[in-house]
Amino acid sequence: MDGSLALEIPQIFPEIALSVFGIAILLLDTFLPKSKRHAATGIALAAIALTAVFTLGLVGEDGTFFSGMIVVDGFSIFLRITFLVVGALTVLASSSYATRENLAVGEFQALVLFAIVGMNLMAASNELIMIFLGLETLSIASYILLGIKRSDAKSNEAALKYFLLGSFSSAFMLYGIALAYGATRTTNLEAIGREIAAGSAGMTLIYVAVGLLFVGFGFKVAVVPFHVWTPDVYEGAPTPISAFMSVGPKAAGFAVLVRVLMVAFPAAYAKWLGLVWLSAVLTMFVGNCVALVQSNIKRMLAYSSIAHAGYILVAVATRNQEGVAALLFYTLTYALMNIGAFTIVSLVSRQGDRKTYLDDYAGLGFKQPGLAAALSIFLLSLAGIPLTAGFAGKFFIFRAALESKFVWLAIIGVLNSAISVYYYLRVIVVMYMKEAPDDWSPVAMSSSAIAVIALSVLGILQFGIFPDMLISLARSSVIGYR
């Protein structure tokens, strides 16, 4: 027994590397002199690079490990890379932020690494209990990250709200897991699928279980009607963490949702399709319409992230491989544009995260044209203007919807993209067509923030103008998908 288990350990090398480095950063942060603690950022980046090497070493693997707990396939490897990209950008963006706000940089970076471990485990879970463990690893790290500005009331509020509602949704999810186990006598996703297909499971219990699981995952990815925490949490959180929360846990939640719905509950498709369909439509409309009237840019981006969860749900509803490939493409490119946008919001908001209102962007286009141009690219990409990755992502999702005969979902999606253009363009209009206030203070730049912005812009243009490479990679990642 021990021999075979030891042989399977390389399959979780990425997670082991991240954990070891995270613990090392905590120790260094404790025992190094204060002047050397900023080394944590470099160590975290090295950890992510090493993890990327381990993850790429798994390419081609396809199977389950650790008694069916962990599945390594193209889908999970693609997502692990997505999470590493999210993590690297968050680490970079938060290093200068932590210095500016006088936060413990080591604790910050270690928690980001632990959060990636949780997301990785979620993407690679083949088992309901394992999914829950990954989700809790991610959640506990994010509770602390949200409240890391300990003396800031808004940061505390964000952490407490997310903690209370997160625990509540975890309870729903656990109840769903319990019912699924009660009906099928297993928590293994493939075994659940087999039991249901064999007709030996009580379908009423299964339907209730699917509903409860959808509540749990729906909370994590912020789809209507489980979205109400999002604006308050994103507004109060340290801005790099708002960026992280809006892309990392969302991608991980969707990964789990897709795997659970498609592997364990394909037989209940007729039932969960209605849930997903309705939730997708509501999410798109509520997110976009409420974003129209926001004056705080962090809240606007929060509602925009709700709307984007709606587009991704359309991909889930299609249930075909093209839809899953579009989902993979969308979560990666959406991560680039949202982290980029939030990083600029973080820079413009100055020390203490005070200047987060639309008016604070007046005249940015003349005072700091480079920054304004980058933010414009991110916003245009979020709106889905051609030649940006946002357009390509929406195009793939809506095409997958049309191929699966979800004409109405595609129409509603396109309609919502049109609505969203208004509030994204409004920021650009304020930047370029309003005079800067007389007491304008220049936005302080840092090399790490410039790196994040430059990498995101490059990624958006690369995947926007030449989407073929990434989408074919995503397609090949779902081909082995069971």
């Binding site: 027994m1 288990l5 030891a6 940089v105 604790e107």
Partner: protein, 131 residues
């Protein structure tokens, strides 16, 4: 359905529990004397005099200690089954157990070095970045 029948035990247990509670409370309310006094009607606080409102803000440091206690409590819960089958599992499990303990030890070292085990107000110690 046999699996559902196993859950019937739980239901019976629950029913017996509720019945026992209601039965004993009803019976004692029938036979006990009723002699109230101000002392008897005051909330029970382990023999202490109840003073002031219970809705006060508890010091956050109580929770830090409770949390650390739980960490080591749970550690023992995991280590007992590990120790019971220790011989059968061999070297692999031994190393895994050591890693598990080492991770928790790092956590303790971190809390200790950062000064969170001291009963001094945190603001007197500066922010976390300075410790």
């Amino acid at each position: 359905m046999p699996m559902m029948l196993q859950f019937a035990n739980v239901l019976v247990f629950l029913a017996v529990g509720i019945f026992f509670l209601v039965f004993s409370l009803t019976l004692s309310s029938l036979v006990r004397p009723y002699k109230y006094s101000a002392e008897k009607l005051s909330p029970y606080e382990c023999g202490e005099n109840p003073v002031g409102s219970p809705w006060i803000q508890f010091n956050i440091r109580f929770y830090v200690f409770a949390l650390i206690f739980i960490v080591f409590d749970v550690e023992v819960v995991f280590l007992v089954p590990w120790a019971v089958v220790f011989k059968k599992l061999g070297m692999f499990a031994f190393v895994e157990g050591l890693i598990f303990i080492a991770i928790l030890a790092v956590g303790l070292a971190y809390v200790w070095a950062k000064g969170d085990l001291q009963w001094v107000r945190p603001e007197e110690r500066g922010s976390l970045a300075e410790r």
